[in-house]
Symmetry: C2
């Protein structure tokens, strides 16, 4: 069942579709030291699954620093600002990592499908030298693209299962703001609030 | 003295100046419950001060939820993605709030100057009903703009004093990434790393 925030979010995605960067958002996590970390990631669509139908897909590398953050604190917040329509969705939720050892067959299939749908250049990044290490020789980045049918072991699907959405529309007088809260596994409350 | 990351950041700001949204970035903090919060804020320039010359200016409202976050954990991370040049600056640093009771004369003056430089509509937002409360009547938002020479008590200048910058350039083969770290009060190290 679609959550009530899915319609305004789909509308924003549609109305901003001319801008490729409208599919990027900022994902904040908390490090084991209790400091926040914040980076841009790409929205890979919603999980095609009845139970988890409101779940956002992201991808990550098992060598990325955010893996430790997620193990320490799975709750995270996405900030998704749409530049054309001037609206923001803050999406708080639980992150769930789907790795090469995932035993749930549906999730493992979703990982494989997501890998298959990537571009060659996106897949190649998972074969690059270890991120954040002193820079390697240029030749180390010059690789044949990996097999689209065989995800590299370090490729992870990252799921964000939303619990609270704060939608702010800067256009309009006054601005509009609405908070959606997951009350239980299925029920969302909707509250219009002051911006 | 300008930090070594100031030049690439100034260049990014300049090259993206045709896009008003290039002055927006996402600020992540940690709530007292240890969860991260992430929202879009506007870059208000650098602090015009010899000692704090690499300090970024933001504004906030003393009624905003992020005030409690900052008291709990002043370390925060900004993610600043430039859509035109396709580059990202992750700026980790310490937040410092400058309120109406600030006793440092230079900082209090910076607060007043920042208020003065806002638009009428930006200043009016500080006179709006309490944020995140059930939505008030439209008339409560229809106000005379506040005096540009007299900041409202709830208007705060928010400073971000950077400690670590992670600069990623997606353009180019391969991508370029450089990490700048504050080693002591004055010295920055620069390290090219794998993207």
């Amino acid at each position: 069942m679609l959550a009530p925030w899915r319609s305004p979010l789909s509308s924003a995605i549609h109305r901003n579709r001319s801008k490729p960067h409208s599919r990027y958002f900022q994902l904040a996590t908390v490090t084991p030291e209790g400091i926040t970390a914040n980076r841009t990631v790409v929205f890979r669509g919603f999980l095609d699954d009845e139970k988890y139908s409101n779940t956002l897909k992201i991808i990550t590398d098992s060598r990325s620093a955010k893996i430790q953050d997620i193990e320490h604190q799975p709750l995270a917040e996405v900030c998704w600002y749409f530049t054309k329509t001037r609206e923001q969705f803050r999406i708080r939720g639980k992150l769930q990592l789907v790795t090469n050892t995932e035993t749930n067959a549906d999730l493992q299939q979703a990982r494989k499908t997501t890998w298959y749908n990537l571009s060659d250049s996106s897949r190649s990044q998972f074969a690059w030298p270890d991120p954040a290490q002193p820079v390697a020789d240029k030749s180390a980045f010059d690789l044949e693209p990996p097999d689209p049918n065989l995800p590299l072991d370090n490729f992870c699907l990252l799921l964000l299962i939303p619990q609270k959405i704060d939608h702010l529309q800067l256009k309009g007088e006054p601005q509009q703001r609405c908070i959606y809260t997951l009350e239980d596994d299925l029920t969302w409350s909707t509250q219009a609030v002051n911006p």
